[in-house]
């Protein structure tokens, strides 16, 4: 499973989303759009908006910390990756 999360440094909802992924033992790649302009562009293109966090769970784009949507997207995958 490929999980990407787009964040800013102080964003509390980003922290919540990362905590949830960790709790579920899901490995993820984080992109800080505050310091990474190309990631910011990529996030805007994927989600058609500019708020964080944005999660890309195997192509499923979730805007904001939406616990149910994240859990649903993770559950629809055949297996979880190892925890980071």
């Amino acid at each position: 499973m490929e999980v990407k999360i787009y964040t800013t440094t102080l964003c509390p909802y980003c922290k919540m989303a990362k905590n949830l992924l960790r709790k579920k033992g899901v490995a993820y790649e984080e992109f800080n759009v505050e310091s990474d302009a190309s990631a910011a562009k990529e996030m805007a293109a994927k989600s058609n908006q500019m708020g964080v966090p944005v999660l890309d769970i195997n192509g499923k784009i979730i805007v904001g910390f939406d616990r149910q949507a994240i859990e649903k997207a993770l559950a629809s995958e055949p297996q979880n990756s190892e925890a980071i």
Partner: protein, 333 residues
Amino acid sequence: MDHEHIAYDIAIIGGGVVGFAGAMYAGRLGMKTLVLSEMTGGTIILTDVVENYPGFKRLTGQELADNIQEHAMDYGANLVEEKAIKIVKCSESCYSIFTESQSFHAKTILFATGAKHRELGIPGEKEFANKGVHSCALCDGPIYKEKTVAVVGGSDSAAKEALVLAKWAKKVYIVYRGEKIRAEPVNMRRVEQKISEGKIEIINNTNVNEIHGAGRVEYVILDREYSGSKKFMIDAVFVEIGMIPNSQLAQSLGIATNSKMEIVINRKAEANLPGIFAAGDVADMEFKQAITGVGEAVAAVYSAYRYVNENEFICACNDEEFEKSIIQYGKGK
């Protein structure tokens, strides 16, 4: 079926600082405590710096929330991170609380459900949500590095949002409908400092009427001219015009609210139904701060403790009613 063995003395709805403060004290009083939390941490986590919580000169909202949660969990509260969607009185002294997938019994309930951001309700606000219209400076402020942004509102919270945004933005305008913004003196001094540096400017007696752009916010329309035009070029609008109490669930149970949708409580934090309490932003107290909400929560829990013990309640529901509720609202636990 006997459900007494799974009945909680108190179910706290809401996992912000107020809810966990209540849970901490309930634990101290030996109460079997459930915390149902849709968004653990609550709205204080959106606050960059908290400087008005006694005992801590300066810490982030997230740190304060984490500290209070940790303190509560040390006393053995059961935290369930799900949204309470329905509460029914299943017997004279017992409430059933339902989430999407579970149900619980409790002798008393503390509503610590907080409040959500009020929206402007103007054209363009929904269309440009997260495309230049935002409500969390801490989250989305860094995206507007060296850009021009506006905060709509005149409260202390609006001033704090403007100060946060001034870290990144080229210029921050505070657009306020009233004569003068109402920041606390300590924050007003900080705003004035930023005004003297040219980072913040206040536009008083002005409303934002419309938000426009192409794909993202480019300008707003004001209700009066600023610098010779009602069209005001801006890269983002952060809305900070107050909060709406999250009292719908309480209202569905028949709990009295006032015209602002706040739960009406007395000095013991009791609502109008027996065994029901409220504290924090959802309650009808004028001055809403973490410290005042936490105090209310402790008063509520003490009142709940006395209510439970003085009445020696047995939280046992009519089996037929409970099973009916499960079928209607969710699976029993």
